[in-house]
Structures are given as structure tokens and as C-alpha cells.
Assembly symmetry: D2
Homo-oligomer: 114 residues x 4
Amino acid sequence: MTGASDLQALRDRMRAFAAARQWDGYHDPKSVLLALVGEVGELAELFQWLPADQARELARREPLRTRVGEEISDVLLYLVLLADVVGIDLATAAHAKLSEADRRYPPGIDPVRS
Amino acid sequence: MTGASDLQALRDRMRAFAAARQWDGYHDPKSVLLALVGEVGELAELFQWLPADQARELARREPLRTRVGEEISDVLLYLVLLADVVGIDLATAAHAKLSEADRRYPPGIDPVRS
Amino acid sequence: MTGASDLQALRDRMRAFAAARQWDGYHDPKSVLLALVGEVGELAELFQWLPADQARELARREPLRTRVGEEISDVLLYLVLLADVVGIDLATAAHAKLSEADRRYPPGIDPVRS
Amino acid sequence: MTGASDLQALRDRMRAFAAARQWDGYHDPKSVLLALVGEVGELAELFQWLPADQARELARREPLRTRVGEEISDVLLYLVLLADVVGIDLATAAHAKLSEADRRYPPGIDPVRS
């Protein structure tokens, strides 16, 4: 991928995709969020019965790899759409959240109890 | 945000964040996916009781706007982490999925039945 | 349905179902939870694009009604299984939670802010 | 728990709880479903970083056991509410789904591929 911003490029394609189909009217936040939940569910189905200690390697191999890439993408696209619907710049927000996490969780803390 | 790729920049920060805390060992796919589900749940809690036809405007105003940006970011960061754990380039995968959607849903189709 | 406890009857059928197929080995909590997330996703897909103010009536009519009943059931069955895996009596726990909610949310409180 | 039906008893308590607070107006299906997603998220947070092979034993011990029981209950209560809102008898629907599963997955099938 090239260009100044992947996330803005995806947002712009999502906008064009919805506009070409006049689907914008469906894109209230609660609907988009439920669509995102649907895609998270499809992602979960790919992993649910895999042995936890083999899941990483299995997901890196075909045919699972392609399926996982598709479902992760679907979640991302609805997330990009939701951010756009409510007027949030996703990259800026995510970097801010990471900076906060850097401050909040100093190295040496166990994630299970944090 | 500047630079060649927002998503790669977020991935690199997530890698550094995890490495500095030695949290990589926790990042098997099923665990990261459950963490993502946790963040989707927090996002859902922000919207659950809002009237559907006012949710967009309410989410664009403070104090909700900042909260929504934080939770959308948390979902994105776990999605970036999951893609990294299984070796998927998220921008490439998402653009491929959008190209497929362009072919699969020609303009004029109703999303409710597609 | 008859008998002293619906939830125990469902639990007993789930146990017999899993035992007959030797699927018990798959039923660690994180796997069952991801399976539940998958079913919640399927439930969300049934509602995602429905107009919020018509969703109730639409879900009460066929063909949606049967589909909703199936997906709600799938979520319930994985919830019953998860409770059984971790040794929790679901009816007792749910009544305790409702009693706590009765104390915690006195009549007159708005759910949006509670 | 005693009585003819646990699930009906929970439904009746949920009805009384909502009526006493005049919360019924909030209980359109998409809102209840998002509330359920929120509770599934809280349940996921309890399990996310636990080692998969120790999760069952850890969840059977305090203090996790009580927390898991609470969150499983919250999911169940919103599921009972959702079924009630759309007029579905949950026990009947779940038994029908189990009977279908009995036919659909004959013993000897691996769940990973079914």
C-alpha cells in the first residue's frame, strides 16, 4: 500500500462504495456496530475450536490464512465506517490511545491484573 | 498522521509496546480475539440505550465523542495486533476485500437481503 | 416445557450431546466463549440493517421469527455449556444477579446513565 | 431453583424489573442486543489472558468464579429479555435447536469441520 494514510484510503473507498449503492441511509451507528459484531462473530468461528497453542501456526497456513484475512478485513472496514459515521479520525484516535497506554501501563506490569 | 502507512505505524507501536512489557507471550490469537471482543463490548455499551435516530449526532458531541474514539481505537489496536500475530498485512487484505465487495454487490442491491 | 428446571434440562441434553460425540475435549472455556461470540454474531446479522423502530414487529413475523429463535437458542446453549464447564448453576446465579440489580437500580433511575 | 420453568421465572422477574422502572421503552431488539454484546464483552475480559489449559480450573476458584457467574448471568438475562421482546419461548426454541443438532451432527463428526 502507498499513500499518506491507509485508513483514510479505506475510509474514502467505503464512502464511495456506500454512495454508489445509496446505502448511506442504513449506516446509523447502532446498525454499523451490529454489523461489526456480526463480522467479529465470523472471525471467532474461525478460531473457536483450534487448540490455543496451535492457533497461531494454523492461522498462518492456508486455507485458514486467507479466511482469517477476509474476516479481519471485514471487521476493520466496519470499524472504519463507524469512525467515519461519527466523525472520528481513526489514526489520530488510535495513536492517542497508544500514548495513553504507554503512560498507564509502565513496563513490568502483568496484563492479567492490569 | 503522516508517513507511508498508518496501519503499519500502529502495528510497529503495538510491537514495541508489547516487547517493552514482555507481553508477547500472552498474544496467542484466541486471547487477542477475546480481548477484541471485550473492547467491542465496551463500544456497544456506549451506544446501547441511545435512540437509534439520534445516536449519530450524540456520538459527534462531547462527552460521548471522546469515549467513542477511545473504544473504537481499542478495537482497532487489537485488530492490528491480531493481524500481526497471524502475519496478515491488514491494508492489503482490506483493499482486497473491498475490491471483492465491489464485484459482489453491484450498485442497486439492497443490503438487507444481500 | 415441563420439569423442575429448564436450564438443568438443557444442560443435561448438552452434556449428553457432547459425550455422545466425544466433543468434551474441545470445551475449554475460551473455546466455548468464542463459539458463543460466533452465535451472537449470527444473531446480530439478523437485526443489523432493520430499522430500529420496526425491528420488534419484523422479528415477531416469519420468516425472521424462526431464524431469531434459532440464533437466540444457539447463544443460550453455549451459555449453558459455559456455565456447566466452569461449574456454575445458571438459574441460581441469574436470580442472585437480578436481586442485586433490584437493590442497585432503584425505580426512577434512567438506564442511559446508570 | 424450583417451579415449572426457570426461564419463565427469569422472564417474569425481568418484566417486573423493567416495568417498575419504566425501562420498557428502551427495550427495542437492537438496543437489547447491543446490551447483550456489552455483557459478552465483560465475560470475555475475565478469560482473555488466562492460559487456555488452566482457564477451566481458574474459573472454578474464587475470586474468578463469582465474577464469571455474574457475567454469565448478565448475558443470560439480556438473552431472556430479547426473547421476550420478540415473543419467543426460549426453552421451547432451545430444545428444538438441540433436536435439530442431534439430527445434523451424527456422533463421530469432528466439530472443527462441521
